[in-house]
Symmetry: C2
Subunit: 424 residues, 2 copies
Amino acid sequence: MTQNINPTPAKLESTNPSKSFVSHLEGAIDGEHLPSNQIQTLHNDRPIWVRYDLEAIKASCSPKTFVNRESSMWRYRELLPPAPDDTLISLGEGMSPLLPCLKLAETFGLSDLWIKDESQLPTGSFKSRGLAMAVTMAHKFDITQMAIPTAGNAGGALAAYAARAGMEAFVFMPADTSIINQEECQLYGAKLYLVEGLINVCGAIVKAGKEKVGWFDMSTLKEPYRIEGKKTMGLELAEQFNWSLPDVILYPTGGGTGLIGIWKAFNELRELGWLTDSKMPRMVSVQSDGCCPIVRAFEKGERHAEPFPNAKTIASGIRVPAAVGDFMILDAIMESNGTALAVDENEIRNWQELGARASGIALCPETAACVGALESLSTSGWIKKNERVVIFNTGASQKYPTVNAKTPPTIKSADEIDWSQFTK
Amino acid sequence: MTQNINPTPAKLESTNPSKSFVSHLEGAIDGEHLPSNQIQTLHNDRPIWVRYDLEAIKASCSPKTFVNRESSMWRYRELLPPAPDDTLISLGEGMSPLLPCLKLAETFGLSDLWIKDESQLPTGSFKSRGLAMAVTMAHKFDITQMAIPTAGNAGGALAAYAARAGMEAFVFMPADTSIINQEECQLYGAKLYLVEGLINVCGAIVKAGKEKVGWFDMSTLKEPYRIEGKKTMGLELAEQFNWSLPDVILYPTGGGTGLIGIWKAFNELRELGWLTDSKMPRMVSVQSDGCCPIVRAFEKGERHAEPFPNAKTIASGIRVPAAVGDFMILDAIMESNGTALAVDENEIRNWQELGARASGIALCPETAACVGALESLSTSGWIKKNERVVIFNTGASQKYPTVNAKTPPTIKSADEIDWSQFTK
């Protein structure tokens, strides 16, 4: 195993951080057991679950175990793939703030709305959770070159963790992706290609690179560990609410790993008996009507989604016309008595302003779509006035330039200001 | 007092959060005592310190008190101006990761280098600490309109906290400030003006607004509380190193409040007797040779700095030609046996790449200047091989577009890639 040249602070105080509670890996489409002591990708062209020996975890720790641990996603290491302190490829990701948003709640006649702010993670998005975990595992399995198709933020995150680990990253993103995403990849030294096509075209190029030169394919859900990193959003939410879950969760859905991971976390916590009551949240998958394959499949009652033609949305993270884990997303929605909702693409900018101004949080366009969904679902009564609702802010608004650009006035001195407009 | 419409999660478990340990305010230039029960600005045109009853703090809490508190800067509330839970204007700021950077250390022949990553704060910069504290206090004193001159990030942070508090913000920034800073202000609903001139011209406009229409002047060091928020960087660092301080701290210096606040924190901790040894760090103020008023004053052995003519640097946060707290910065450097150093403006981009690639951290150009200073000071022997060194990454590289822009290749499919270049 390669030496990690940027070690983690190692303050996790785990009882035994290198002990593995993973029982096996499991093909998500057919339940077949697969060994966890070797690198895995897809199984029968579909994703792989990581499964744990929950009885052994229960015997080894409890919710109280985590209280004094470092404030990062690694505090839950018994519930993650095994990674001793000196093998973690970490930038301190996780334990993002869970912020009450009363004013925004009141806008929609609600009273108990929270936003979990993932913009405060390394590289400014929730993507760092999945990639911290996946890069840690790839590094452990002696992978040295990784490639990723990305709508933007995942590429930046992979570039960061690859740099930290001393590994090579190849990033493929649509040519019109935010300049911020392009530049962060370049700053970290990743090899960046712009692609005339959407994320599925990027994915095909990565697949070719895997076959031709042996790149490891870091596409979402094409290896088992990104889900486990994203799962920590659900673990944190449970701990932050004192191990009781909210009524409704709204999550913007592109590739779907965030929603899938959160739902997996809740199920593991339920099986562990760590939740203080039996309530499970209703999961809401939010897309733009400019790209809503999951919503269409949900409406038709299907378990797999047709590729969405001519996908178009300013919320680049959910501009994903086809998802390899479609059935995992749709299963989570169904199991949770949730729903899937496409919002008006043309209103996303307005919801972004409305949400940021009412909450102070740097809402990205994908989360703005969730604000739109909140408006619909509270108006229709699907969400009730006193229900506890959580929206995840999956990234920083600052990574999406020109989405809301307006030209401000330019002045040279105080003399150019008409002060009378301000006198109260 | 106005009702805070976006309350904080209130998980701080303070013994008595509304108890004040502030003894008095104090003019920094003459030591005159000033009352803390009314809003304060400057005293004799110079900044004001907040002073505490350290004996009372000592009697009320100890380092162990903080262990189980929420992972934010508010965990240190006994050492902050009094603000009961329901009055905090908070976005969950603070407890940023302290990351070991062995590879970057080795580049300069060092062995114990850490970066405290302030890019993982609300709005992606350390500015959120000072403004969370200052807006909380302004809100408490029933201020409703605040104005700020900014190099960029402070304006974005003020806009965010003003939105959260339901207050009005007026932001003045140089016309060539990053589009990201412009847009975050607009997204949050702040009134933004671009100014043909540097931050001192912006400051003059805010001063005019204060006189003409009564805006509260949120300029750095022109009210007493931003320092206290920034002080938490020093408190966190001490706690993260188990209450022992490093040998050297490098901090990029614009207005200087960060460095001043950190040094204030260390002195308070020393007086409290909470440090495990008597070592105090040598504070290094880092500027670009395109704008280095503090370095020039330090080299001349003066306590006040001349305004720097024709200030020019891509590190916009340190493009501050004159600082009202110059003597406070220079005092901290002198008291700590530190130094002040100007680095080559033309090398900042290279240091940014070097640092980001070796650490995985989204280093901003201001922090890149500190990487340059690290190179100089380790080469000269001023920093010794085994000394523990900390650099603060004051903001996210992602907020500085085009600083490192290069044009990546654009392709349509895998066929356009010359795979032979990658074959290992």
